[in-house]
Amino acid sequence: MKQLVCVSKTPDTTTNIKLAEGGKALDSAGVNYILNPYDEWYALVRAVELKAVAGGTITVINIGDASNDTVIRKALAIGADDAVRVDMQPGNALSVAKAIADHAKEGGYDIIYCGKESIDYNGSQVGAMLAEYMDLPYVGLGIHMEVEGNSATIKRDIEGGTETVQVNTPFVLSCAKGMAEQRIPNMRDIMSSKRKPIDVISGEITNTSTSISNYDLPAGKASVKMIDPDNMDELVRLLKEEAKVL
């Protein structure tokens, strides 16, 4: 089984977002970057579990600059065998997906994993785009997977429930909570990850017509209106007449 896991680098979930250059950019000063939790906890760990029974190899791929090597090392410590980094600063999901597809087309991978979304731009786009560039089946929002031979049975989230689907390798999968459990690498894994290879290749930005022109911060809530706990009639009145939500 040859597995490929797409990993991205994101600010950690507690990051306080500040704007720079008058809203043209985000201020990266003091931001702590992590491996995107969906890629790490769910996609990569599921790949590691599958490798333990099915054998084969796990490659991780990242599209980004050298500052991403720290999170790539983390992925190697969790259990990937090797890594590919396509060295570029992609401006949008189309360019990311195309760069992954260009590598993966030659790779002969059976399963290609993505996270449900990167927690920075919350796009949930790369997986489906990648599947289309490769003309492969795609299963989005997977929460459980059983694999037998070349057939996978996957449970995925749908509105108000789940759906179980069957698909044959090769395919692209996005992983959400439930697919696997977070693993903490031990010291030995961390040490041995330092010897695993990161292959850096050059890439080409293929779409420049979709771009973020600037950022805003959400308008803060007007300050909270505190209600006397002994006067719930007042709260109900406000919900009906002022907020108009009841």
């Binding site: 507690t14 179980t164 069957q166 698909v167 706990p229 009906k240 907020a243």
Partner: protein
């Protein structure tokens, strides 16, 4: 021309789809063009989409589309978009939309924005759209400049607006190939209130509840107003509540009209999934609870006392 993919659920349209048709109509008006809706498979009364702004409905009937598969569906949507020369294709940002939007964009060689949450603005032939990023902590203004644009719209971005009357339905045959993904079974929650991603009213509770046996007061309040129940992550992790109720960064992201949170501190990862709610009511006994900063209305008191009182007060206004 603006093409809206109007997804049907067992032959019916959900409210979010009607919203996207209205969104399509407004986008088409802005561009000085028309809005056409696309329906895949059999639908009762597809012409009703005319009321929400479609000038006509294109219907594609093909056995290969009986079950959802992103490859066949995106082929169908892209083929219709090409046949009609659509400049903009709109989809819903939901569990099928996340598998389709990117695929359709790649097939059409279009620009793409997903999870957009406000109406677009026009800048020459370019569209400018807004999307929340960092789980609502910032907003990005995205400009789409290619000739074709594919956009998925977040639920509750606008309300469906009845502006017209039923419209004609035309059928169209397109090549869709065969499905690589077969649906084996579905396990849907039936009856009861709306599923969380679509709920307009949500009552949620956290560790302040002390134990699963105390949830009766939360359910009473939810039942009284017809709300869906939700919970914080630790409560689902210890098994007090089912996992599908967990909202937040790692759970379901919701945007109801009303979110009532009892005994939840308001950690940043919790807020990430609920901060798009139109109105937030927080019940917490700790005046320093961070959730109060994100709330519209706050009640600082013991929830075991306040929640039943709130339920009573609502019942009174209903009788």
């Amino acid at each position: 021309m603006v093409l809206v993919y109007a997804e049907n659920s067992d032959g019916k349209f959900k409210k979010a789809v009607l919203e996207t048709v209205s969104y399509g109509k407004k986008t088409a008006d802005l561009m000085g063009t028309e809005c056409v809706a696309l329906v895949l498979g059999n639908v009762d009364d597809a012409g009703q989409l005319g009321k929400y702004g479609a000038s006509k409905v294109i219907q594609v009937n093909n056995d290969a589309l009986a079950n959802f598969d992103s490859q066949t569906y995106s082929k169908a949507i892209s083929a219709v978009a090409e046949n009609l020369g659509a400049q903009v294709v709109l989809l819903n940002q939901n569990s099928s939309g996340v598998s389709l939007t990117g695929r359709v964009a790649v097939r059409l060689g279009a620009d793409c924005a997903s999870g957009v949450n406000s109406l677009p603005s026009l800048d020459g032939a370019n569209l400018q759209v807004q999307k929340k990023i960092f789980s609502g902590k910032a907003i990005s203004n995205i400009s789409l400049t290619a000739a074709k644009k594919v956009i998925s719209v977040t639920g509750n971005t606008i309300q469906p607006e009845e502006t017209g009357s039923d419209c004609p339905i035309e059928s169209m045959d397109v090549e869709v190939g065969s499905a690589g993904v077969q649906v084996v079974s579905r396990d849907e929650q039936t009856g009861g209130p709306a599923p969380l991603p679509e709920a307009e009213l949500v009552v949620s509770a956290g560790r302040g509840m002390k134990g699963p046996e105390n949830w009766g007061i939360i359910e009473d309040l939810a039942n009284t107003i017809g709300a869906t129940t939700a919970c914080s992550r630790p409560v689902a992790d210890v098994g007090w509540r089912p996992h599908h109720e967990h909202v937040g960064q790692t759970g379901v992201a919701i945007r109801p009209n009303l979110y009532i949170a009892a005994g939840i501190s308001g950690a940043i990862q919790h807020l990430a999934g609920v901060n798009s709610s139109k109105c937030i009511v927080v019940i917490n006994k700790d005046p320093e609870a961070p959730f109060f900063k994100a709330a519209d209305y706050g009640v600082c008191a013991d929830l075991f006392d306040v929640v039943p009182k709130l339920t009573e007060a609502i019942k009174k206004t209903m009788s």
